[in-house]
């Protein structure tokens, strides 16, 4: 748990931030991870300017609407730290979601800060250029980075033309095969 006098600062470098509907989406370019912050977590994160302690953060984040209890702010900081959205080292938090919900009581439904890493358990992630490399594209460093359906079987990451690309394993390519067979 963060100490009361600690003044966390939100990371700004290497992040792409987009606000949609009731959440804030954050893509970490350095770690290639996407996160979704609900309204409460987003309010706390935005208030982390490096000058506010937990109490001041509580006040600042509450200005956006919902009054936040201290536990909610601490839980938000813990989650933001784990997602590497705060500057400085990660501090292992001790608050669990269940504990925070118990302390918040009925307010939990609206005041629980949530930071969710976007991991789609579906082929959507496999099809996303943020997470995999399509057929004949690159640069790759290993076959594991290639999209599952890219090569009608296992792909290999080989140097072709100007860079390492995801291609199907082959014994040889005809010299007149176009690099990009079709648009």
């Amino acid at each position: 748990m963060r100490r009361e006098n600690e003044q966390p600062r939100a990371r700004t470098g290497d992040l792409v931030v987009k606000e949609v509907a009731e959440e804030l989406l954050v893509y970490d370019l350095a770690r290639q991870k996407a996160h979704s912050l609900n309204r409460v977590a987003a309010a706390v994160w935005r208030a982390c300017d490096g000058t506010r302690g937990v109490a001041a953060l509580r006040v600042a984040a509450s200005e956006s609407g919902q009054a936040l209890p201290t536990e909610a702010v601490q839980y938000a900081l813990q989650a933001l730290g784990r997602a590497r959205l705060l500057e400085g080292p990660i501090e292992e938090g001790r608050l669990t979601r269940r504990e925070v919900m118990a302390r918040l009581g009925t307010a939990a439904a609206v005041a629980l800060p949530l930071v969710t890493t976007i991991v789609t358990p579906t082929p959507a992630a496999a099809q996303s250029p943020l997470t995999c490399i399509p057929f004949n594209q690159g640069p790759c460093t290993s076959a594991a980075q290639c999209c599952p359906d890219a090569c009608a079987g296992p792909c290999v990451c080989v140097f072709s033309k100007d860079k390492f690309r995801c291609v199907a394993p082959t014994l040889g390519l005809p010299p007149d095969r176009p690099e990009f067979p079709e648009l």
């Binding site: 792409v16 931030v17 987009k18 949609v20 959440e23 989406l25 954050v26 893509y27 370019l29 996407a34 979704s36 976007i118 991991v119 789609t120 358990p121 579906t122 082929p123 959507a124 992630a125 099809q127 996303s128 250029p129 943020l130 490399i133 399509p134 057929f135 594209q137 690159g138 640069p139 359906d149 090569c151 009608a152 079987g153 100007d162 860079k163 199907a168 394993p169 082959t170 014994l171 040889g172 390519l173 005809p174 010299p175 007149d176 095969r177 990009f180 067979p181 079709e182 648009l183």
Partner: protein, 370 residues
């Protein structure tokens, strides 16, 4: 449940999906669950979320999966814009004219840029300038996106670079001015590109729908259909297909009233492709597939059958019309062309396969059925 039925369910879900405002797709829960993997697989998950948001489907686990796809694509859009700006900046600095096609150029016409997936950046440069463009893009620091450079538009369009550039429009990407194809040329390119790949991704037909319904006043259909009559007919066919399957408002287009005249094989082929979730044009090259299945003639046979079933691509390859006549003559000619490619590949293959009699059988099966 036939593949056509599955494709039809996808069509019902995506009907009108590109329009702002809430939709209320009439689907059964079971149908929704069944098509979900296919939608994810073809990059249509975010659009599916757009269709079901605000409905009971949104609260299901499958709906949440689509919501995640929407979040992911929304972030992709932001990241893609940054990377595109970097690409354009480098080309500008090298004094290279480039026209952006597909991707961002299309997504800006959707209600939200995150409704469409992103992969590489497709650019057409003046013929002969691709080398210089590649050099500019290869300079350190390394770009973090794949760029598909077309050395002139000859492989994607019948018009020359200067003709396309003259009709191009300028869009603003942050502080960068991006040259994208004019609406007429883009619609033609989007339609032909989708057909060339058998329209196996529903999003391609949605792209076309966006181009048709978002066309500006004074849109010149004659210019759009292009100088080659047959290509023009294909474009009309594609628009009619979008009207038939997705309910595109085709009034005022040459395709108006055409859905009834669309040949059944065309509609069935698209629905089958949607039910598969993959297209033959994105499979591994024939030679590679045969090598992979060299010890498994049955798999090679299945692969060959899969490759045979591409009547749309075959019609375009051969330059045929979209009429009600059987497609097999076009498929035979297209297969013969691909066989030539296979033979060239075999000639360049290395030795080990010659000593395997089953490999020979596999190759024969491939030759017979391509």
């Amino acid at each position: 449940m036939t593949p056509e039925w599955t494709g039809g369910v996808i069509a019902r879900l995506l009907a009108g999906a590109w329009r702002p405002g809430n939709l209320h797709p009439e689907l059964e829960a079971e149908e929704f669950e069944r098509i979900a993997p296919l939608l994810h697989q073809t990059g249509t998950g975010a659009l599916a979320w757009w269709c079901v948001r605000g409905t009971a489907f949104a609260d299901t686990e499958t709906g949440e999966g689509f919501h995640q796809a929407y979040r992911l694509h929304t972030l992709e859009a932001e990241v893609h814009a940054l990377r595109l700006a970097e690409v354009l900046c480098r080309l500008d600095a090298a004094g290279i004219d480039a026209l952006l096609i597909k991707g961002w150029a299309l997504s800006r016409r959707y209600p939200e840029v995150g409704l469409r997936p992103y992969s590489d950046v497709d650019l057409i440069v003046r013929p002969g300038e691709a080398g210089a463009a590649r050099a500019a893009l290869a300079a350190p620091p390394e770009l973090e996106c794949a760029v598909d450079l077309h050395d002139g538009p000859s492989r994607v369009d019948a018009l020359g670079f200067d003709q396309l550039a003259e009709r191009a429009e300028v869009a603003q990407l942050g502080t960068h001015a991006v040259r994208i194809l004019g609406p007429e040329d883009h619609l033609r390119l989007v339609a032909l590109h989708a057909l060339r790949h058998g329209v196996f991704r529903p999003i391609w037909l949605v792209d076309l729908a966006v181009c048709v319904e978002g066309r500006p006043p004074g849109f010149d259909w004659e210019r759009c259909l292009g100088p080659i009559r047959r290509q023009g007919e294909w474009v009309i066919g594609a628009v009619a297909l979008a009207e038939c399957l997705l309910g595109v408002r085709a009034e005022g287009t040459p395709a108006a009233g055409r859905p009834g005249a669309l040949p059944g094989w065309l509609i069935r082929a698209v629905l089958r492709n949607w039910a598969r979730g993959t297209g033959t044009s994105h499979l591994a090259p024939v030679f590679d597939a045969l090598v992979a299945h060299r010890r498994h003639p049955r798999l090679a046979w299945a692969e060959a059958r899969r490759r045979w079933d591409r009547p749309i691509e075959a019609t375009l390859d051969v330059g045929g019309p979209f009429n009600a006549l059987p497609r097999w003559p076009f498929q035979v000619i297209a297969a013969a062309r691909r066989t030539r490619e296979l033979l060239i590949a075999l000639r360049h293959a290395t030795a080990p396969r010659r000593h395997n009699p089953r490999a020979g059988l596999t190759a024969l099966v491939g030759l017979a059925c391509l």
